[in-house]
Symmetry: C2
Subunit: 418 residues, 2 copies
């Protein structure tokens, strides 16, 4: 599309760099994305992606709903919408959350967003002053770091274990901060089947976190794209369920339980907070695409969502199982991994001393790719981890991919021993 090489000044007089804002000069393309671009063009088994399997998209249902929407609701679906979102969808989601998660619809207001990524940006915009302390999990969702970073917070990264964020460590930190006269603005957590670690915050920790929020007067941003994708174990209520003060922002999305292509997500929060988020959204995109919103509304309201979730689970469970079995079978001693009850990702920790970013080239040469863990840490201080995705690639490829990966890791471990 363009004949001009990227990065070079044009053959005119224009000095591009002189025009950018200070903040834009600091913006950098995600290395992970750049890495993945390489992988996409080659013959590699990629366990790196974060995409849902297209086989789970309910195409026939979408065809049916779309025709219905265009026949009966074209005036709403094709026109501009309000910034807050299509009201029948907002009400339907509030009811659905009450039924499903025990979050009283009367306690929340739902605002529709252009994918839950937009919720992260809007929350940054509305709540973060430069220097504000934002707590994240270590590791945490990469794109949340990117969204918040623009607003110049100071990240406090709290380690995780198999029961999610170490809320006891958070408490210690909160005490220290209080002693220094400092305060946390909010805690960001992917509470269930976390991206990237696959772990779920335990019930006790959820309650404890809410108690801490009250005691130390902070907010909680609960990002919950995966909880419906449960392949084993018992459901745990969202943190929002335990919130009786309006401290918790619940972020939901249709991307994993319907299809990402609509870019429809939602924030459920106290109406007073929603008012401000609404004003912020108005300036950035006026409204989320009403066509997708009206379709999403029919999908939930007509019961398709509840019918469809078990099918997605049925499709993904064997893939999760295949990956766990392959890890068990092939991985050398010294390698650890999480055993998620759901979601899309498994987190692998290699022996100290191995840098998974440096190892990537060898892995790709062997025909397998993953996401190096470094970028998921706010301070990029952990080098020996990686994220594996099990939703996009079929079982036999998962097995083969893990086998190849195990070979590479084995060589790295040997090299360490030298």
């Amino acid at each position: 599309m363009s004949g001009k090489p990227e990065g070079n000044p044009a053959p005119g007089t224009l000095n591009f760099e002189l025009f950018f804002s200070e903040k834009a000069l600091q913006m950098k393309a995600s290395e992970v994305r750049e890495l993945l671009k390489l992988v996409e063009t080659s013959d590699v088994i990629s366990l790196a992606g974060g995409l849902p399997a297209p086989e789970t998209f309910p195409v026939e249902i979408i065809k049916k709903i779309t025709q219905e929407v265009l026949t009966h609701h074209a005036d709403k679906a094709l026109q501009y919408g309000t910034t807050l979102g299509f009201t029948p969808l907002r009400l339907t989601l509030a009811e659905w959350m009450e039924k499903r998660y025990g979050i009283p619809a009367s306690d929340i207001e739902v605002m529709i967003v252009s994918g839950s990524q937009q919720a992260l940006d809007l929350i940054g915009r509305v709540f973060i002053n430069p220097g504000d302390i934002v707590v994240v999990e270590g590791p945490t969702y990469l794109a949340a770091l990117n969204a918040f970073k623009y607003y110049d917070p100071e990240f406090l990264s709290i380690p995780m274990d198999h029961n999610g964020m170490r809320v006891d460590i958070l408490e210690e930190k909160l005490k220290e901060l209080k002693a220094e006269g400092k305060r946390v603005k909010f805690v960001y957590t992917v509470s269930t089947f976390q991206n990237p670690a696959g772990v779920t915050m335990s019930l006790e920790r959820r309650k404890h976190l809410v108690e801490l929020a009250k005691e130390y007067d902070f907010l909680i941003v609960e990002d919950n794209p995966y909880s419906e994708l449960r392949y084993s174990g018992e459901p745990i209520p969202p943190i929002k369920h335990f919130d009786d003060e309006g401290r918790v922002f619940y972020l939901g999305t249709f991307s994993k339980i319907f299809a990402p292509g609509f870019r429809v997500g939602w924030i459920a929060a106290h109406p007073h907070f929603i008012r401000k988020l609404e004003i912020a959204k108005q300036a950035v995109d006026l409204c989320t695409n009403p066509f997708g919103q009206v379709i999403a509304w029919k999908y939930v309201a007509d019961g398709y969502l509840d019918e469809h979730i078990p099918k997605v689970i049925e499709f993904y469970k064997p893939r999760r199982d295949a990956m766990l079995e392959a890890l068990e079978e092939y991985m050398p001693e010294g390698v650890e991994w999480t055993r998620p009850d759901g979601g899309m990702f498994i987190w692998v920790t290699l022996p100290e001393g191995i840098d998974t970013k440096l190892m990537m080239e060898k892995a790709v040469a062997k025909g397998v790719a993953y996401v190096p863990g470094e970028a998921f840490f706010a301070h990029r201080d952990v080098k020996n981890t990686m994220r594996l995705n099990f939703t996009y690639v079929p079982e036999e490829k998962i097995r083969e991919g893990v086998r190849r990966l195990a070979e590479v890791i084995e060589e790295e471990i040997k090299a360490l021993g030298k």
Copy 2:
């Protein structure tokens, strides 16, 4: 949905205001929107809106395209997309702009955005440092002011006449600024059938503006949602057509030539600038909804767009004519208005001393609404103007609305004379 009254602290311990960022505390709901909410619920003829007529949405074409897309391109339409946008749509738009506007496809890269409102926010994010001078027209597009304002520019407002922005006055200002050692970052213009004024920047002024951009080293943001809606007169090439250095950002949208409900717009600019805008977009919403993008692609690529535009024109022209005729017939002496060759709006100027915001209540009492002009000026220093929309309301209502409005204005003029 919520039982709690807006603005009051909840019956817990939460002090909402303590959590907001400094910038969020400054965000205010648009008064215009609040005004319009009142109007929507009543029996008033509203010339205030800015909506396209739903009768112009090509519902049958959309039905057909959507089925095709879901049958043959579901994998693309329902999955996550790249931040830059769906490549076939980007290429198709580049070709279309070359054919239609003589903008060489090789000189630009196209990025898809979530409505052109998002383009305004991203441009603010990537180019405005606090205190940077941003030139806007007086009056200018309200939502552009809102989008840019977040980034704390200093607005320089340049008056308009029937040939658009007074580029000669801009030149004077540029000289003064240069003498003070100051520089303009960019000039924002809705070049054709401006919102709100309805006027079009003349060919000479377009060329002159590009010359000034070179001489004084600034960028130009050309927002062009309306140029295809031409009911009379000869087309003028976009400013981007005269850009041989990559200084001009061209913003396009499907909202007025297809349907707003998809929220698909685009930026065409030098690839070097697009790179940075792409990184900025990644943090705010990952990608524009692929479902809408794939549909928009078929709409342009299969020739529906070029077929459909004449039908939209045919639908709107009588409405524009009806409003111009009614203004001629009913308006008292001392009232002036623009005579747009296209677009959606007419701008009315009343005698000095009349405040259209104060007059609004009387107008609504008489059964007619408009948008007071004040909010369209960066410095809110003009009180006697208003914007009228002629696309949403049928001809007979336009006539009656203008008649009622003329009555109110006549009374105001009489009151002035006292």
